[in-house]
Amino acid sequence: MSLAKIETYVAGRSPLHSWTPRLKLVSLGLLMFAFAAIRQLPLVLPMLGVTASIYALSRLPLSFLLQRLRYPGLFILMVVLVLPLTSGDTVLWQWGPVALRQEGLMSMSLVVSRFVCILTLGFVLLGTTPFVTLLRSLRSLGLPTLLADMTLLTYRYLFETADMLSTMQRSMRLRGFGHTRRRWFSLHKKDLQRLVGLMGTLLIRSYERAERIYTAMRLRGYGRLKQPPAQPKADAGSLLLTAIVIAIAIAFFTTELLT
């Protein structure tokens, strides 16, 4: 999956799309942290409700979310599936040595719900904002220039570097790498040497390319022009949405702290 695919729906016309990027970043970021702070089961339903409402408001198709949740979802399930079997004393169901425990089941529901909600908000943020706009908003919020430049350049060359590696790996396979039968649990020095060569060559090619890119960037004035990032002014709709989302985040924080 690439960022380009995440940006398929950034040109939409929903309230989430027209939300001033800087305010959207701050508000959704705060809400993600409020969700991470939830430790009580009764708050799970409101959390799922708020997330579903925000997703519906973004008018992103459900397939966009389901596609992206699949892989990390499987990963988290592998991590937390052990909880209902090992955590807690109240046994709900038992079959031989395997016992399903209430406390573990509750912990698992909490972790999975938090995970799904935080991830959904992240995808809403990325699905409704172009990456470069997001980076510009981060710059205006104090992200150092060096980090912003590095992020942008990494993004620019990430997929080309991935293509380069894939071509190199294909040539390795065509020359027989990985076709020899090896004994189980044995590591061959020759395999390791070839992989070192592969990674080393990838680093050297990237390094050489960076030298050419830097020369081209200098010729175009890189490092001499200091321009503060221009930010669009916030409209009434954006301010209202920001106030609502921040109020919800504060409500979650206070309920969690007071009860």
Partner: protein, 216 residues
């Protein structure tokens, strides 16, 4: 070894962001001391992209395969640029592959970035040996230590975070067994990471020594 969203409490996420902020500030301060920092930005960015992509390379150990963390190697090759590189790499990993998360970006960056900076300092320690510091054996040895300790320290921090955030009602015996397994399984991985780092640094030293010059 990525902590996903929703696993650790908000306080841990906030502390992670705090520590990452501090380490970023420290790294940028050191980078700015090295003359014109913008001259190294394209190099660091393209190497970040290369490391990000290279993290998908698996070492075949039948019937399975092992994937390397590369944080020690990042420290050895990129020096102080390693921390911003790891932060950016993890940011893209959370966005593109769904590994890690946005709320846990700070925790993950500190967990992998701090050992990377230590690996860089360890690799530089060989300069204390003066004339011997350019001998292949010494370069390989210090690169091995940087790579192996990079992974080992990251694994220790990961274990500490897991212990600190595991639910209170979790079975203590199962917890101890899981932690012991986690720790023991990382010993051969740390050795493999160290060997790979040493071999790669020696390869770079032979083929393109200027790639390591900035950090030697």
């Amino acid at each position: 070894m990525h902590i996903p969203d929703g696993i650790v409490p908000a306080q841990v996420c906030a502390a992670g962001y705090g520590l990452t902020g501090l380490l970023t500030w420290y790294s940028l301060r050191q980078i700015n001391k090295q003359g014109d920092p913008s001259a190294n930005v394209p190099k660091a960015a393209l190497l970040t992209a290369a490391f990000f992509v290279a993290s998908s390379i698996y070492i075949p150990i039948p019937p399975s395969s092992v994937h390397l963390l590369l944080n020690g190697l990042l420290g050895v090759v990129l020096g102080y640029f390693a921390f911003p590189a790891i932060l950016i790499g993890l940011f893209f990993q959370a966005l593109i592959v769904g590994h890690g998360g946005l709320t846990t970006l700070g925790v993950n960056a500190a967990m992998m970035g701090l050992p990377a900076l230590l690996a860089y300092r360890i690799f530089r320690l060989r300069r204390l040996l003066n004339s011997k510091s350019t001998e292949p054996f010494i370069i390989g040895l210090f690169a091995f230590l940087g790579g192996a300790l990079g992974l080992a320290i990251a694994a220790l921090i990961f274990t500490a975070v897991v212990i600190a955030t595991v639910p209170a009602e979790f079975n203590a015996q199962a917890e101890q067994a899981a932690i012991a397994t986690l720790t023991i399984s990382h010993i051969p991985l740390a050795i493999l990471e160290g060997v790979f780092t040493a071999m790669l640094v020696l390869f770079l030293q032979r083929v393109r020594p200027e790639l390591l010059e900035g950090n030697s």
